[in-house]
């Protein structure tokens, strides 16, 4: 390998290093973007985020990948960035699996998993832009919502 080749290899590595760095930064900033806020709350409700469970309150931020858990008296009402309103009643467990809201590119998705409990949901802009993008998964079924409001009970 002559000097010129070595230089090229160095440049390529340098380039990919930067790409990796940029990729890391962009994925980090995506993960850190809040997707909703807690608007109503009855104790006790918690969020499990990256394996750590913390209690919620009015004004708490919600992120993609959060699992929300309520005890026998707990309830939590969330309004998402697209204007969707989700309320989880007592003894519930719900995962916000996927939330993507880039309306200009028509790039949207809102998929949640309900393990148990009751949920009231009214869709927002994501449902308006792309109705087939709003989905709930439960242990027995999949719910495809084409606007606008549903109530769900998972026993």
């Amino acid at each position: 390998m002559n000097f010129r080749d070595k230089y090229l290899v160095f440049r390529v590595i340098n380039h990919f290093g930067w790409l990796l760095f940029l990729l890391l930064i962009s994925s980090a900033s995506n993960a850190a973007e809040r997707i909703g806020l807690v608007k109503t709350y009855s104790p006790v409700a918690t969020v499990i985020r990256e394996g750590v469970e913390t209690s919620l309150k009015v004004g708490s931020e919600i992120f993609e990948g959060d699992t929300i858990v309520t005890d026998g008296n707990g309830a939590v009402g969330i309004i998402f960035k697209d204007g969707a309103v989700l309320t989880l009643g007592p003894s519930g467990k719900l995962l916000v699996e996927n939330f993507l809201f880039k309306p200009a590119e028509k790039n949207v998705s809102f998929i949640s998993k309900i393990f148990k409990g009751t949920v009231a949901f009214a869709s927002g802009a994501i449902g308006r832009i792309s109705p087939e993008s709003v989905q709930f998964e439960t242990p027995t079924a999949t719910l495809g919502l084409r606007g606008t409001k549903i109530l769900i009970e998972v026993e």
């Binding site: 608007k39 009231a120 009214a122 242990p139 606007g147 998972v154």
Partner: protein, 197 residues
């Protein structure tokens, strides 16, 4: 060991057996009724009328046929959840003349209305979203929709709304209220929407 396996199999079975899903389609805050598909491995049931309900008791069984539930039954099942529902977001709209980002004199009252809605909800969760019609180049229209959003943000700040409670979006001609072809002068598309959450 064998007991433990049997026991856990039993636990798993009871869990699955108890995991029935019931869905009810209800009118939204504006009285609008949409549509929902309940799908298992064995079939789909579509609900399209107010208060219609269906159940998926097992993943490998087809969901039940639609059945209309009474208001009192719905209350029985969901009152604890519905009692905690947040107020739905509120929306306000400003319109603009072609190419302009100036708030129209007869829409200045909307600023005060939005401010009082923000105050009464005690909201620090507001989006201001600018749009244009399809007249002219989209790159220029993006700029116009940005200026419109800024004009509304500025008016809200002047009325006392905290700048840090608002996020700005602008879509140029990419999110038309009234779908049109390119280069169409459509007043309803030249707008800024405020969403108060």
């Amino acid at each position: 060991m064998i007991f433990r396996i049997l026991f856990s199999a039993l636990v798993v079975n009871t869990l699955v057996a108890c995991s029935g899903t019931t869905v009810v389609l209800v009118p939204d805050a504006n009285g609008k009724v949409g549509q929902v598909d309940l799908t298992t491995k064995a079939g789909t049931t579509r609900l399209s009328k107010a208060n219609e309900s269906a159940e998926a008791s097992k993943a490998d069984k087809a969901p039940s046929q639609p059945e209309e539930l009474s208001e009192s039954k719905i209350k029985d099942m969901f009152s604890e959840t519905l009692d905690k529902e947040p107020k739905p977001p509120e929306h306000f709209v400003f319109h603009f003349t072609t190419g302009s980002a100036e708030i129209l004199p007869d829409e200045k009252a909307t600023v005060a209305k939005a401010k009082s809605a923000i105050d009464s909800r005690n909201s620090c969760d507001i989006s201001v979203i600018g749009h244009s019609d399809t007249v002219g180049d989209n790159a220029i229209n993006e700029g116009v929709s940005l200026q419109r959003a800024d004009a509304v943000i500025h008016a809200l700040i002047e009325s006392g709304v905290d700048k840090n409670c608002m996020d700005r979006r602008y879509y140029g001609e990419n999110d038309l209220k009234i779908p049109t072809a390119d280069n169409i002068d459509e007043p309803q598309n030249r707008r800024v929407e405020i969403e108060i959450r």
